[in-house]
Amino acid sequence: MAYIRKRTLLNRIFEAPAIGKMAPGTALFVYACLLFWTLVVAFPLYWILITSLKTAQDVNGGPFFIPWVDFTPSLHAWKELFVFDYEDTLRSYTNSIVIALLSTLLCISVGSMAAYALARITYKPKFGNILLFVIAMIAGMYTTWKFGVDWKLTIAAAVAVWFLLVRSIGRFFKKSVGNGDILFWMISQRILPPIVTVVPIYMMFQNLKLLDTHIALILTYTVVNLPIVVWLMYDFMNSIPIELEESAQLDGASRLRTFWEIVLPLAKPGLAATTLLVLILAWNEYILAVFLSTSNAQTIPILVSAMNAGERGILWWSMCVVIIIMIIPVVFMAILLQRFISKGVLLGAVKG
């Protein structure tokens, strides 16, 4: 008994009573911090909710904090958006849903396949061959610009010339790039913010007469988010022990079956997390949407900012309504996908 030192009151408050327990003082402090932060985070959401129920006078005469006490809640903003402007709201909403879902779907399927390939196959493209390709393309562009040759023709010719060059002199090139270089090249596409390319993208879709269409936004978002998917999924794919796939192959499974029955289920947590991230990125995207859509393909973030445009000043109440309906699906998706974002799927695979 004498071996256990007597604890002072201070000890008792700030020392853990046992291994794995929290000291009462520490607990108090930690929970106070957490509570404070929760308020900091939750308050804007609360503010948006009550603002959507305020009239113009309540907003401008405020600040009012508590409905029915400080001010009388009114559904006028909700009514305006869902009854009078019903078509506009609904169109933006469906646009956002269609664009976010389809671009995410495209992005995840292409990106995770690319990630899987990079994790499992060793690529060694010759540096010289890549250079040749670039040169062939530049030469093609030059002829189109200088001599007015049909661009489809030049592309075909450039690819053919490149192919012949690769077959003939390609084997003399020594230096080759590896998977790491390919991966870095992909993520390097995100080093500059996507917005710097918005002018060429705008002109491209203008030429293709696709401005203000779903397809323009879907393709743009897919391309912009693809590096993120490849980068994240590469890590997840790499963490799946290759022995599981080898074992499946010995068990008689085809490549495709191995992918579907072994790899995909094990990559599920990664897929879910990445999907959620990409979905939110696409859902919230504003700047590209401003350029590429005007009315037909207008998304919800555009509608939010549109509340700031009228001669009536900023329509805080309407803006808050749109923000609320914008948040709801994201929360819903997060809850849906959270089930899959669990750790430990690989437990029991290879550890003894």
């Binding site: 022990p241 022995e243 599981l244 080898e246 074992s247 499946a248 192959q249 010995l250 068990d251 008689g252 499974a253 085809s254 079956r257 072994i262 289920p265 094990l266 430990g344 799927v345 690989l346 437990l347 029991g348 695979a349 290879v350 550890k351 003894g352």
Partner: protein, 364 residues
């Protein structure tokens, strides 16, 4: 399911297999003929190319040169799934998202076997590997030994022509390892399935194998029954690798039909292929005695009692030797003792090539 009984004529042949990773030549000209139903153990130190050789047989690694034949059919370049070979990985490689039953049933399910038949086969195999109560568990809920059994069951279930096992017991604790070793031997005997078993543990090799193939640095050193490789080691490497404790070596030279070293001068039947020579003898074939009464004298370095026997370590020049003595024996450290062994239990090796000489000690 195929039955292996009707395919007894089949034989697995590895012919001059070579494999390099970059500039490293990992497997060099490996040739082994494996008889139907044989338990062949591929034994060698870590990094000697055992796993690579096994993976070539499985089809998981390409072959640089040489061929693999199964029953006269060339399978060198066949995809793994066409080889009728099952493998137990060192890490077991169980599918973590599948239950024990699903893991075991996977090979049959992939083969398109009807659900009911798969279930029946799973139950039968699970009974054989004593996992019948655990069919609904996931791998993460099993102990190491149980995972081992599931991996074994998954390999057994489709009755393949051959099992490949890559150090299947190395992740188990010592006690379980001994237990599983006996079970493996029993199971392989009853199933009669040709097995290639990779290990770096010479005890496993001795106890399990019909024949042992000992590899070092990618080269096959000796292929023979455990008795043969133990009693008639072909090279210095094999002699030093087999046995626990391993064979003792005295480094010396042979001149004028005499083997000489520090304190050692023994007659031999003829001169060797080179002058530099190594005399080997096993700890259990030798004994220590009063100084001057044996083949040569040495100094006691330590005497260790294991309970079952006593290990006496003696020093002679630069060589250290271990001698196995009865349990009640003891020797004082630093004392001088004699070492003796029957002359027909001494082996002479060419120090330069590492091969065993055909000469032997004479007299007694």
């Amino acid at each position: 399911m195929q039955s292996s009984a009707t395919e007894d004529a089949k034989r697995l042949s590895l012919r001059n297999l070579n494999k390099s990773f970059g500039s490293v030549h990992v497997v060099k000209d490996l040739s082994i003929e494996i008889e139907p139903g044989e338990f062949l153990v591929l034994l060698g130190p870590s990094g000697c190319g055992k796993t690579t050789a096994l993976r070539m047989v499985a089809g998981l690694e390409t072959v640089d040169s040489g061929s693999i034949e199964l029953g006269g059919e060339d399978i060198t370049n066949a995809l793994p799934k066409y080889r009728d070979i099952a493998m137990v990985f060192q890490s077991y490689a169980l599918y973590p998202h599948k239950t024990v039953a699903e893991n075991m049933g996977f090979p049959l399910k992939v083969a398109g076997v009807a659900r009911a038949d798969v279930d029946a086969a799973v139950r039968e195999t699970a009974a054989q590997v004593h996992m019948i109560e655990y069919l609904d568990r996931f791998p993460r809920e099993l102990s190491g030994g149980q995972r081992q059994r599931v991996a074994l069951g998954r390999a057994m279930i489709r009755r393949p022509y051959a099992f490949l096992m890559d150090e299947p017991l190395s992740n188990l604790d010592a006690k379980l390892r001994g237990h599983m070793r006996a079970e493996l031997k029993h199971m392989q005997h009853d199933l009669g399935t040709t097995t290639i078993y990779v290990t770096h543990d010479q005890i496993e090799a001795m106890t399990l194998a019909h024949r042992v193939a000992i590899m070092n640095e990618g080269v096959l050193q000796q292929l023979g029954t455990p008795r043969e490789v133990y009693d008639q080691p072909a090279t210095l490497f094999v002699a030093g690798f087999m046995g626990s404790p391993p064979m003792n070596f005295v480094h010396g030279s042979i001149d004028n039909q005499r083997f000489t070293s520090t304190n050692v001068n023994l007659p031999v039947s003829a001169n060797g292929s080179s002058v530099k020579s190594v005399l080997g003898f096993r700890p259990e074939d030798s004994e220590v005695g009063v100084a001057g009464s044996g083949l040569f004298d040495a100094t006691v370095f330590a005497s260790e009692q294991t309970g079952e026997y006593t290990l006496v370590t003696v020093v002679l020049g630069d060589d250290t030797m271990t001698i196995k003595m009865p349990r009640d024996f003891d020797a004082a450290i630093h004392s001088s003792v004699s070492v003796s062994f029957p002359t027909d239990k001494g082996f002479l090796f060419d120090k330069v090539s590492g091969n065993r000489e055909s000469i032997h000690l004479v007299g007694g």
